[in-house]
Symmetry: C2
Subunit: 397 residues, 2 copies
Amino acid sequence: MTDFAWTRDQFLLPDGVIYLDGNSLGPMPKAAPDRVARVLQPEWRDMLIGGWVKAGWHMMPETLGDRIAALIGAEPGHVVVGDTLSIKVYQALAAALALRPERRVILSDTGNFPSDLYMAEGLARTLGHGTRLVTVAPEDVAEALTDEVAVLMLTEVDYRTGRRHDVAALTARAHEVSALTVWDLAHSFGAVPVDLAAANVDFAAGCTYKYINAGPGAPAFIYVAPRHAEKADTALQGWQGHDAPFAFDPAYRPASKVARMRVGTPPVLQLAALDAALDVWDQVDIHDVRARSIALSERFIAGVEETCPQLRLASPRDPERRGSQVSFHFEHGYAAMQALIARGVVGDFRAPDIMRFGLTPLYIGEAEVDRAVEILAEIMKDRLWDNPDYKVKAIVT
Amino acid sequence: MTDFAWTRDQFLLPDGVIYLDGNSLGPMPKAAPDRVARVLQPEWRDMLIGGWVKAGWHMMPETLGDRIAALIGAEPGHVVVGDTLSIKVYQALAAALALRPERRVILSDTGNFPSDLYMAEGLARTLGHGTRLVTVAPEDVAEALTDEVAVLMLTEVDYRTGRRHDVAALTARAHEVSALTVWDLAHSFGAVPVDLAAANVDFAAGCTYKYINAGPGAPAFIYVAPRHAEKADTALQGWQGHDAPFAFDPAYRPASKVARMRVGTPPVLQLAALDAALDVWDQVDIHDVRARSIALSERFIAGVEETCPQLRLASPRDPERRGSQVSFHFEHGYAAMQALIARGVVGDFRAPDIMRFGLTPLYIGEAEVDRAVEILAEIMKDRLWDNPDYKVKAIVT
């Protein structure tokens, strides 16, 4: 049983802040500063170039990949850490497309995170030969899976509404038409149980700066199913993915399994912060997190609907169809969110009218949820946005 | 005039070590630990998601890009930091190829760093239509520049031998046949004067963990000449390169100028270390560094040739044709380098027989060079490699 009093104590959060934006950037684990500092001193200072071996820097993308694999139902040796989520989605998509050379369609949905769509378009243009990205409404994905589709590329949990796809069912449906799947786990990893092997997923990628709390610019990860591991091609064949990177062979020969998805020199400071963040997850059962996330979300929705009738739920009402965030439509949502943040309740806003709140049980409980509802209700009563002198400042999140 | 006593004092180096491997990973600037720690506390801890704006994290790829631009003769606003060198080379190459759609050949040389060649091959395969990488010996590059060549992709300074190409002359020659140039500055930036605008270079990329001393896994940078800036396409079109990344527009619209070469969320801890490392360079004139590097290199070569006749110079003898490293062939080079490292003289080895020494004037002077020669001479006399019991341990550098 996960001890949420203990998990709460693993983070440093500023006084007076109710942080409902851990779905954008998680808070700082207490262990992170020392872990990062250690890479600088004594490691970098004293080992210099030797740190790559003596301090284990070189293998961190793989050792951390294995720690992540254990949290997402992936086979050991089939997850590697590095780069950014956009890059890892690109690699997964390129590898998947290469396994279906006779097909030309990448299917996605209009709710996918824009960067995934941009990267897919860039890859399709580079590949040419009629390769194209087709997007449909999220509810139409199953129907759009025809035998023209090479790859189904989806984000499990919608970044705006929290709407959640059924990974196993859509993967099975894709396989029925011999399409492959690329799942983006940005809003899944650390938010909902993920079981990639059980769902028969082909490729997946995710980030670690949201629910995992690995810090600003924390690296991404990629999963390649064992059945594709020795065949997976990638358009981005960097030296760190070579079978013998330090042989400096002029001919490229991909490393065995997922290590081939490494590209360049890994960002050791960021990897150290990720290492510290994962320590918390070693003590957590994601099913406990999920149960508590649902309880907190239901409590938050009930409170908001009772006290703030102007807000309209944008997330699915069925908790099974949501991730770990709750969103509301409100025409003055931007101004309302600014006012909330000014009073210490930090959520965020997504155009055109979505107020977004992340419910993250590792450090948020009933008291924070209730207080957030109270403050939101006061703001709705104040109606600051009716005052022509009220100015809102843009925030970039 | 650069004060090399001052620059030496900006680094923490372990006692008893003569570090001649700053061309692989530079040593830690004294300012780095505090700068990195600040990102964690108070920034991440207290600002949480707000750090992207309030602490300036979001703009660091561009503000640091401008600091780098000033050091490599690039126009402000035309360098951006991020990702790894392999990724930035890929983007530069993709953009350059898109500007020469009627041509199919990427020309490079056999001395180029393998990752650049691997990435080029991956891109050529993805592009198809006969796009191909052709490599020739470094001395044959000018002659191989025909009107079939779309892009000349070279690393200015050879990572093994230190042999240096003439950037301006080869760029002019490429332009004569209407080819574009992509220059990899991995062993140039911080080692030799670089003047991209004066040399009329089209695209360039480089890393910051070698001579710039920004730490393990420090990010790369990319330069796009102003004349290509508004036309430059890139295969890797991530959300951070969008003209309005936080509008979450489903349609991709590239940012103005080099900012379009941003891909995903930037690694803020690594960027902070880079920021600290660049502070040293603000007080340095690269022409002073170059003059001192040549003096130290000549002293080192003379010392080695006088006392270690078994070693044969692998670098060009003319200092104008070298970067800031000196390499020697020696059949027992691997064992000899291990013995040197065990005695505190840290260089590195590159197969099959190259002993490589970086001469980095910011923290290396005559005394270190003379002592390194002395120790090397002793090791050559000891001939450890003749002893069948002598074991060498592999180091990964």
